[in-house]
């Protein structure tokens, strides 16, 4: 597939909601190691709210979907990651302004805006062991795939792979932000909790595209 209409893209949100509900306990567990255990709760709430809000819209365009999701997440889950994901969707929505359908260039623009928004709001740099260290590789990979003229399912598969690798690489980093920063060297060896969320996002985008491609 080279493009996807807005109506089809909206099907992504129930998927995300279901996935984060399923990941609830795993994310709690992960966040309990060098955090405060809330990540599973907040992400489940965030994406349930996003899915409900988008589902309640009448034939929204792409930008409106993303904006609505972002606003819903900001309300439902104003934790660190909730706020960052909200910011990501809100910024991503601007990148899709006026787009009638989703293509790989649009996808790349979305993720680029998403990652930039997160970096701005969290004042984090690459290598600080945050969600940004997974979001940025996703954006970069999508750009590269767009340059190659890849299909949506190819781009998303590549982005998911890049995310998984990037998440793995966060193990070598030492946390500089948030509650994990207090653990200093002890955070080394652990995969970043926020990065795990980004990885799940890329994975669900991919699963969604593959299911559609498979018909």
């Amino acid at each position: 597939m080279q493009t996807l209409d807005a109506k089809t893209v909206a099907g992504l949100f129930p998927r995300l909601a279901a996935r984060f509900e399923a990941e609830r306990d795993a994310l709690i567990e992960l966040d309990s190691k060098v955090g405060d255990s809330d990540l599973g709760l907040t992400m489940a709430k965030a994406f349930r709210a996003a899915s409900e809000a988008v589902g309640a819209l009448d034939a929204p365009d792409l930008s409106t979907q993303m904006k609505t999701a972002g606003a819903a997440i900001a309300k439902a889950a104003p934790s660190t990651m909730g706020t960052l994901m909200a910011t990501g969707f809100l910024r991503g929505s601007k990148a899709l302004d006026g787009a009638a359908a989703l293509d790989v260039a649009g996808l790349a623009a979305f993720w680029d805006a998403y990652a930039n928004g997160v970096a701005m709001r969290g004042k984090a740099a690459l290598g600080d062991k945050t969600v940004l260290d997974v979001l940025d590789p996703i954006a970069r990979r999508c750009e590269a795939e767009a340059g190659k003229g890849a299909s949506l399912e190819e781009a998303c598969a590549a982005a998911a792979k890049a995310a998984a690798d990037a998440l793995e690489a966060t193990r070598d980093l030492v946390a500089q932000h948030g509650k994990a920063a207090a653990f200093q060297e002890k955070s080394r060896g652990l995969q970043d909790a926020g990065g795990t969320v980004a990885c799940i996002l890329a994975d669900e985008f991919n699963g969604f595209m593959q299911a559609l491609a498979a018909g």
């Binding site: 709690i28 405060d36 809330d38 907040t42 889950a77 104003p78 660190t80 910011t87 207090a182």
Partner: protein
């Protein structure tokens, strides 16, 4: 999880219902119970707004009242309130003189207050921000901006509230609050974890005979974990870290907050305070004001924190000012 509650998801909202039932001097803005505000805003006064996660009563909302705060965004347990909620509080609280945001140094809170401030600006409401970062245990000297905000924010509330009540302008309220912020230090110690109702189990384990010196109020790690010692030794270790950053000279005056984290009996706080008093005596420092009790908790966590504010002629009268909130009352001498 042995707690008095109904559905864990309703923990915060049912708590708020109870609070509004008990205390008619507070109310909420925009039909959202989590937008906690005073029922008696003072025309022309700088508004003071705080906010943060629930699970720390009387923090944060407990200090909304006469001569202290005007509003608080109430988050879920250990979660920030949303920027929308903070904006609603800001709009309600603003009396034309601008609003000071005063909260603890946590990423979620910072981002949401920043967003609220950006939105308030669009509504022509001036905001300024002071971020409490009193927890000595959470980063080294020189990296104070990385430190967590804990119980010491109590003193910042008192200074900001008293300054605003004197109808000082926003910039001056901010300057005084910043000054207090730079002069307050806190060290904590914990003996047991707490349970976030929706999570249902403790977020960390600690041995039957262990304590953690410097632990944060969400269970963040501190400086050392070791076998529990007599409280005199524990207080000494905590006080030494604070004293090292306050370079006292003979005749200095301080205000002290001995804060229980929730599960520690008041009797033990007084035993700890006895030792702290002796140590400050040794430094030639006078305790001009002291409060003991529960001021910033982590639900049922056992432990306590010591906060010390080094006073000066400008801060002392603000700390001494009378306060009347539903959760904290102080008769001026």
């Amino acid at each position: 999880m042995k707690k008095f509650l109904n559905n864990p998801e309703d923990f915060v909202d049912e708590m708020l219902e109870g609070i509004y039932r008990a205390h008619p001097e507070v109310t909420f803005a925009d039909g959202d119970m989590r937008c906690f505000v005073t029922a008696n805003p003072v025309p022309g006064k700088v508004g003071i707004v705080t906010g943060g996660g629930s699970g720390h009563l009387p923090l944060f909302l407990g200090y909304v009242g006469k001569n202290m705060l005007d509003g608080a965004g109430v988050g879920g347990v250990f979660q920030s309130p949303s920027s929308d909620q903070l904006l609603s509080v800001t709009k309600y609280v603003d009396q034309g003189a601008g609003v000071l945001y005063l909260y603890g140094n946590y990423t979620g809170d910072i981002m949401n207050f920043d967003m609220a401030g950006e939105l308030a600006e669009l509504d022509d409401i001036e905001t300024a921000t002071v971020v409490g970062n009193d927890d000595v245990a959470s980063s080294v000297v020189g990296e104070e901006h990385k430190r967590r905000g804990v119980a010491g924010i109590f003193f910042l509330y008192k200074v900001a509230g008293a300054a605003a009540a004197q109808m000082k302008p926003l910039a001056e309220v901010k300057r005084l609050t910043e000054k207090a912020k730079d002069r307050v230090r806190t060290m904590g110690v914990a003996l047991s974890p707490c349970i976030v109702p929706e999570v249902g189990k403790p977020s960390f384990q600690i041995g039957d005979d262990e304590m953690e010196i410097g632990m944060g109020i969400h269970g963040e790690p501190g400086i050392t974990r070791k076998a529990l010692e007599p409280v005199d030794a524990v207080v000494k270790e905590m006080a030494d870290r604070i004293f090292a950053e306050q370079s006292y000279v003979d005749g200095d005056e301080v205000a002290v907050l001995m804060n229980g984290l929730g599960g520690t009996p008041l009797e033990e706080l007084y035993i700890a305070y006895r030792r702290l008093g002796q140590l400050l005596d040794d430094e030639g420092v006078t305790i001009r004001h002291v409060w003991l009790g529960e001021f910033a908790t982590s639900m049922e966590m056992a432990g306590f924190s010591i906060s010390i504010l080094k006073l000066d002629d400008e801060l002392e009268p603000l700390i001494a000012a009378e306060v009347d909130t539903p959760f904290f009352k102080h008769f001026a001498g």
